[in-house]
Symmetry: T
Subunit: 68 residues, 12 copies
């Protein structure tokens, strides 16, 4: 019946805590302006180092949502 079309966004979420948290932050931000968020895929995990420590985790994501 339903032959939906989905659109993908590419986002980078960042976090001082860890990689999963960076993903959650990106999803939370996407959810502010989009409904029908359906899935995500991790594309790249990086981070910024300062004073020999991980200052920010940065995860690039593809986020899919259903178009109405």
């Amino acid at each position: 019946m339903s032959e939906h079309v989905y659109k993908m966004l590419e986002l980078v979420g960042s976090s001082t805590k860890g990689s999963d948290d960076a993903i959650r932050n990106a999803i939370a931000r996407a959810g502010k302006t989009l409904h029908n968020l359906d899935w995500f895929e991790v594309l790249e995990t990086r981070g910024h180092l300062a004073e020999g420590k991980i200052a920010h985790w940065q995860v690039r994501l593809r986020v899919g949502f259903r178009l109405d």
Copy 2:
């Protein structure tokens, strides 16, 4: 003369009929809100299975259109 800039969207089209039809559905949806659609590239072909059959074909596309 013309040094156009193009923007790419990433879409997933779905269809109960087949892979080409899933692509056509995604292009039709993109054409509702965008003019100047110029090309597409297939990035991934998948499908959802139910009761041992292909319930939906799902094709992820990159669609390019010219910015005015």
Copy 3:
């Protein structure tokens, strides 16, 4: 609630008719011995040529099914 685990198989389906049909043939074969088939992904599309024509379409798939 449910934290399912899925297993993937890799299959090559073949067909004299076309690429979608080769996929359907592989799914049909998988469904003979497995239930809970959930999704597939196309990994490679090839074919065998004979007398300058396509004798067989061959599509390599990843098929996922839920473990009980």
Copy 4:
């Protein structure tokens, strides 16, 4: 016994009808000048859009044939 050597060509076939037809067109063209065509592999599927529709399907192929 036979330790054949094969050569690969890269072709793009196009079609107004669909992706499989674009492949068949490329194979038909290759068969005009080469015998011993043995296999093909799909490398990329794209298309040209015009007036919000698929004007041409374009499939890039590797075609292998046996050297005498």
Copy 5:
């Protein structure tokens, strides 16, 4: 001396908690029916979104085990 042969499985583990936990769930399931599990490799990290949150983390793994 020993020239072992290893077999690889591909599994997707899921979890409501996080990416590492999805991996642990897949390994735990594999360990129910296989002994001699030797290593794993992460192939893909995705997730299912519901109501703007991560409902399930899904990690695709290759798991290697030694054949007797």
Copy 6:
């Protein structure tokens, strides 16, 4: 402190002059409607040929900008 989220666009810039200039053209176009542009990555370099010469250089870019 700051746990920013970034969004990526994919653009193709074109130029009659060269590959770096095609990149600059795409960035200039993106800057017309977006502020907080932060980085770019080259994804693909191609070109259109006419009369045996390079008529247009075409560079596909990922451009990242900070969401407010």
Copy 7:
């Protein structure tokens, strides 16, 4: 006529002698429990080092066999 379906296994063969021998060992092991073995593809070549020498060559293979 025949529209066969093939299944792929992923194996790692190891050898103290060399990379080709590691492949032969994996194929020999697969042949103990499977008939209709049809082709293999090398996916990765690695090795374990001990005392500055190659202790084991390890080759990861995809092996295809025809399902009855």
Copy 8:
């Protein structure tokens, strides 16, 4: 109407001046024996170093041309 078939060549152009110039040199050479050159894609950029400087830029290209 037209369902053209295109053939791809792979060339490496070299230049003492820079990467774009290496591409132009390869296209110029291809144009000596082929007409209907239609597009190119950059596959790899390398160079030869001598006395701590870049002696030659080397760019590997795919060049597509229309078959008559």
Copy 9:
């Protein structure tokens, strides 16, 4: 003004606790002998299994630092 040059190292960090911790361990080790650490990128996540559990998480990283 500043046209810095950066050097990349490739490291594998390991941990009994989880994937993020394996990354932190590698960064901590790199910081013992290098200053000006600037960023990291995750290249591969694997692990060693023992008795059906994850004995060590192993993450391969690229670490970039600024040359003086």
Copy 10:
């Protein structure tokens, strides 16, 4: 001074003996009709299996030669 242009061929060599020998067979065949052969790169190693043994090793190569 010299700004050479190189052309690449793609060949598959086969051998009953091993992977290096399949490469040598492809190079020997290329040398029959081309001079100025300059380098090769291995793109894929596969083989055909018969009666549970390796009947033919098949190596796909890119071979570069200098255009006059």
Copy 11:
């Protein structure tokens, strides 16, 4: 006769001028401490944007040099 061994470094060169210049800067820096530099390969081209313009081009390279 000579069976040399080469070592690769990975560097990122940056430049305010363009992509080729970023490569030259990285090579120049490598040449300060290493002799026998032999070749380079471009792995990634990125850049930092500020005020809607390219502030720095950044090119990641693999540089090979002969070990004595």
Copy 12:
């Protein structure tokens, strides 16, 4: 207990004899200055051709060793 950190080198070994021998030569060279060599992975196999024959086999490797 042990949460080791490993460092990777990238080397190209060469040989007039064959691909495995080129790997052994690179490992032998690495072992002159490094202890705790632990594993290698083949990244690329190429060769230099002269007078229509393989003059040198060249294999690019990643070599991992344990940091103290």
